[in-house]
Amino acid sequence: MTRTARRIRHTRRTLQVAGAGAAALLALSACSSSDDSSSTTSDSSASGSSDKLSGTVTVFAAASLKESFTTLGEKFEKEHPGTKVTFSFGGSDSLAASITGGAPADVFASASPKTMKIVTDAGDASGTPATFVRNKLEIATLPGNPHKISSLKDLTGSGLKVVLCDKEVPCGAAAEKALDAGRLKLTPVSYEQDVKAALTKVELKEADAAVVYKTDVHAAGDKVEGVEFPESDDAVNDYPIVRLKSAQNTEGAEAFLALVRSAEGQQVLTEAGFLKP
């Protein structure tokens, strides 16, 4: 069960390459397939009047945004009484697959331009996605940094158990870019399937270090210690956000986008470890 679900979640490329068959499969998993309804709702956005907001705003957001977006959602509900923000956090690629498969959502916040492109290519985005934060890699190591890791090069030393994300997932691709930039060669003990799995290995002290996002180190609290490294500047991840064409609540969606990009929103996000765009 879990495996099937995960497979579906990570099938974004299937849509581009394998096309319709897989899309139909995903539509099944997303419970709804109202493709034609998108055209009718797109017009109503033009006549949007922002005086009184109501209803539910549905936000699909990358898993790394969970803590900060939950905080923002609470703020939003407080500022606009009568509204409700519901989130679906998950891997950006599976969220994108759900959206193109017809899942009902108002806003999509992705962890990479690549996954956002799936949605824009499918014509499900309304307008151009905007980068609202950026995320940087950091080395997560054991609390107290017992192995005295201070640079990416230190990870290449023998005897250290290092885990990386698999090259197929964003954090792995970013790590590879950073290693290339530093002309370093690193053989990890494992290529983990996602950033949380990589972090977990360090949290459980099974690995001595992992290359993950700054925000993940931040979220892990004192279970891991973060070590910044200069090569990370060459592998910064942009987080784009966009309102979706199929949005049922366009006013609510726009208001949420505005909150995310406001000073207030940016403060919450930087506190979580994100960089300003």
Partner: protein, 293 residues
């Protein structure tokens, strides 16, 4: 009055775990009434059930990138992953046999307080999400786990990120299938054969080895096949406990999953290989041990 040959035959059949009997029954009904006797309220859901299981596999075949298949299948990575998968699944089955069959015997033959609880614990990995199973294994056998700590400091053994770790993860998930299957066969087997062996001078272990084991062999084979198949497809516990490194811990399901991220065609091709190999092995084993016609 039942003839003694009849009695011992029936006993032997029970011990053989049933398939033989099923075959006999199938033969007798097959000759007579034929398929016309199948009632509709059973036939319709049965066919629906069959379609439910078969259609996704057919879809996989239909969507398979047949043109690029030869290139994909001759790549070294695929063979590496396949080889690792087969070795690990077989090793996991062997581990399950060595410790699972005695466990099944204990559950079936020895009465002890809390046996019901122990049986429930044995089946726990069946309901546990494999990923959770993997985390549990890390906490137990990881470098810092409650047992793994000692393995590391006394013997210098660390299981995570090793091929042995893959075997451990697969055995953890697959062994319950074997234990349940073997325990069921043992329960159906007549314990008096063990008593007869005892009166002939066999210790309990000798009786188990020379009498019980051969009698329940078909049940063990069936359980081993189930366990092997489960181990071959194991993903969650493996990637969580043993990680993912090509040639060392990256089995077929792991490489299928990761291929899906960037190259769905490759993923489908890999799945087909896994499917073909398992069908070939299972069909082969069924013919030999679990003849069902």
């Amino acid at each position: 009055m039942t003839s003694p040959t009849g009695t011992s035959d029936a006993a032997a059949d029970t011990l053989r775990g049933g398939p033989r009997r099923r075959r006999r029954r199938a033969r007798t009904t097959g000759g007579g009434s034929g398929n016309s006797g199948v009632p509709l309220p059973l036939l319709v859901p049965a066919l629906l059930g069959l379609a439910f299981l078969v259609v996704p596999l057919v879809a996989l075949l239909v969507r398979a990138p047949w043109r690029s298949l030869p290139d994909l299948l001759t790549s070294a990575e695929v063979w590496q992953a396949l080889q690792l998968s087969l070795v690990c699944a077989t090793a996991a089955t062997a581990v399950s046999l060595v410790i699972g069959v005695p466990l099944a015997w204990l559950l079936a033959r020895v009465e002890f307080p809390g046996r019901g609880l122990v049986r429930a614990l044995v089946t726990l990995p069946l309901v546990l999400p494999p990923v959770v199973g993997g985390v549990a294994l890390l906490m137990a056998l990881g470098r810092n786990g409650i047992v793994g700590k000692w393995l590391d400091s006394w013997f210098g053994i660390t299981l995570p990120f090793t091929t042995a770790g893959v075997v451990v993860a697969e055995a953890f998930v697959a062994m319950p299938f074997l234990v349940i299957s073997v325990e069921g066969t043992l329960r159906a087997a007549d314990p008096r054969f063990e008593e007869a062996a005892a009166t002939l001078g066999a210790s309990r272990f000798t009786a188990f080895r020379r009498v019980t084991l051969p009698l329940i062999a078909p049940g063990i084979a069936a359980g081993a096949v189930l366990a092997w198949a489960r181990a071959l497809g194991e993903f969650g516990a493996t990637i969580t406990f043993a990680g993912n490194f090509p040639g060392r811990t990256q089995t077929m399901p792991l490489s299928v999953y990761l291929a899906l991220q960037s190259d769905p065609e490759a993923a489908i091709a890999l799945s087909l290989v896994l499917l073909a190999v398992s069908v070939a092995v299972l069909a082969g084993l069924r013919d030999r041990w679990m003849t069902t016609g």
